[in-house]
Symmetry: none
DNA sequence: AGTTAATCGAGACGGTACGTCCAGTCTTGGC
DNA sequence: GCCAAGACTGGACGTACCGTCTCGATTAACT
């Protein structure tokens, strides 16, 4: 089927990503004549955007910079996207920003798995390269709803966070059978974003207290000092 | 005294807000000659900044625009603040952005109080005027840690959220005596910001599920059977 | 035969006009396969060019605009002309620009005839529609010698000015038998262009003085006393 | 008095050259506060414009190019001139384009003087460097009336042509006491421009015939074969 | 009272990026 | 092989702001 390639914005969750879905070179049947959107240009633009975002941050990200790095005319960008944040939304959708780094582990111990995962994200927020990447994405989300949604999806590993919580139901005090896992996931990600925004850091202690609040169990061992 | 240097000393709660708080007309004695920072100009700038932020959003907020609206030279702004986000940090600090609208009520019922408060914030996020105000502040926080911190403080009513949670300890299942109220507050505010970012809305049902997740009690009726 | 090459051979009066004049549909036999230059497209392009020139002026004249107005692909234009001025050169050659408006009258009185003719041109220079048409053509001539030559030819009515002067030899003081009529014609047209360029206008008085200078006779009355 | 410097567009013949006449750095009394137009920038812009015009021609002359060459921001150009032709108008006014090369000689023999002068101009039209300079200026005149007027003034040596003709009255057949010297000058310059436009060249023979037409005397000696 | 120095409004300056327009080339499918 | 359509790279347009600077006018404190 045509849906073999994962990438076209045809699969857009909502309006925001691209401008439309004209026939891509090499795609299936085309309905009218004339040249067709260059897939090479599209890829080059997305990659250039991600690279520059990581290297310089969202505020220094410019359409001209992307065009130059991608070896593309500015008009080719404006033809298909209406803002730099729309480009990033598509990057997020294609998994170009976080290349699989963020999947939630599953060792059977939800508490420990989330601690591991949160620590990984904490590193990513202020980590070596990608300094401020999360902050940059929040800035992008600020003027593009899709970026916001996809940022959440990306962080939660394309729903893997909710899935992990679902799977863990019954294993921690607050993860009952009808626990609102989506809201717990939102609260978790929200707390992370808030710390990213206020540069509060996400150290072990903070992670621990956060998990106590949301799962109701400290550390991986039952904490004798606090009833679960 | 702190006022030893002629100008721009101390005062700042943290690094980020302004350049300092030099002798304002009428404040303590200064050691050298010359006029002193004009309080009128400072006020005009802060007010202009907030007005423009509310009217046009953070992305359209410009130093030149603020200067023009305030009837002030650009240099007067650059002399005292190092970026537009620093101006906003000071606005937040002075309570010019959310004029007391966000205090957490206290009727004795934590669950109901938070529901009320969250509904108020939900309205504010997408509300009539101030369309996107919260989103604008998140954008500002993105390049100024102080804005992030003060945004959190403003939303939580200058710590009133934590205080309210503290006061409510023991009255809901998850608000035990040593519950990590700060983290619960963070999770709550974080969830709100996440919804602001992704335009997810914050309707009654969402608020309800969020409070179930964080306080462990649905609706306003004490749900005895919810323990997991 | 000249028609050996499939297309764009010979024919051009000089280098500048077009790419050549390849076999036009319906013209003589063509020696090779494939379709042949579409005369309909050619006409549409020339007409569109003239219309746009008159409506908007040379500076606003674009290849894309001509193509759009003519309902033609850009490539069809680039295939046969090498610049927009080349198109105009061809328009001039086909008499599409000044549809016969500029012929020099012949009443027997050279002086009066030229006065009439100059007045007509003066109106045309700044006249109702075609505002700035002459100026636009001068601009075109600036990068295409053919336009210059053909503009001169068009204004002088395809040599009719020289012919008129020739015919009038002996009837005015300066139009002797071997008067350099071509140079007089050039000077006349040059003066007109200069006024077009400098927006000096070409009123009755100016025309009169110009004719005094070039023919040596003021007004329509034979001035016997003018010899200096 | 203040009028010592030759340069300010205050002396503008008409509206077209610059945008206004704000106080120039170092000029006389200034009426209001704030910084003042930078004379250095103004000079750099005019010089850059002339250089580029001579090197590349009017069509390749760009505001960005001028700004870059002059080491100036584009806005500084747009602040004071409304088009590239307006810049050239000012260059012409300041004599930066033809540095005195075009003055009409005065040996007492009008006929010979004009022949000399026309030859010089003929060289300039297609000459070594400044290839097409005159043509470029005609193009500029096409969208700026001032350029047209000043081009004529420049060519006629700031009125020196008319003056020379005045001075020569009575020495050639057609230069009578009440000869319309301005119109003769216009016809002369017009003929030159026409040849520039149509690349007709301005060789000795052409000059001679032109002078016969306008002055009524061939060569400097009475040509026995043609009654003057 | 005069000097000194820092403030203020205003706004010109060199720059960077914007988003648009067009040039000239290339690519596709239809005739 | 020509054609309409239109995507492509590239470059200039004219505008908006940036952050720095310069100007003349105030306005305190310090002589």
């Amino acid at each position: 089927m045509v849906a073999a390639q994962p990438s076209r914005p045809s699969g857009s969750v909502s309006e925001g990503a691209g401008r439309g879905t004209p026939p891509v070179r090499g795609a299936g049947q085309s309905s009218r004549s004339g040249p067709v959107r260059s897939e090479a240009a599209r890829q080059a633009i997305l990659i250039a955007a991600v690279e520059l975002l990581i290297e310089r941050g969202y505020d220094s990200l410019t359409i001209e910079g992307i065009a130059a790095r991608a070896g593309v005319g500015k008009q080719t960008i404006y033809r298909w996207w209406k803002s730099k944040s729309a480009i990033l939304a598509e990057c997020l959708l294609e998994g170009l920003v976080f290349p699989g780094k963020l999947s939630v582990p599953d060792t059977g111990d939800v508490r420990a798995d989330l601690a591991t995962w949160l620590a990984a994200i904490g590193e990513l927020i202020e980590g070596e390269h990608g300094e401020g990447l999360v902050r940059s994405l929040i800035a992008a989300a600020t003027d593009n709803a899709d970026v916001g949604r996809r940022l959440r999806d990306s962080i939660s590993g394309s729903g893997a966070l909710s899935a992990r919580l679902h799977a863990g139901r019954g294993t921690t005090p607050l993860l009952g059978d009808d626990a609102p896992v989506d809201e717990i996931a939102d609260a978790l990600i929200g707390a992370v974003l808030l710390r990213a925004i206020s540069r509060a850091g996400l150290d072990r202690a903070a992670v621990d207290r956060l998990l106590v609040a949301l799962l109701g169990v400290p550390e991986s061992a039952p904490d004798p000092g606090r009833g679960a």
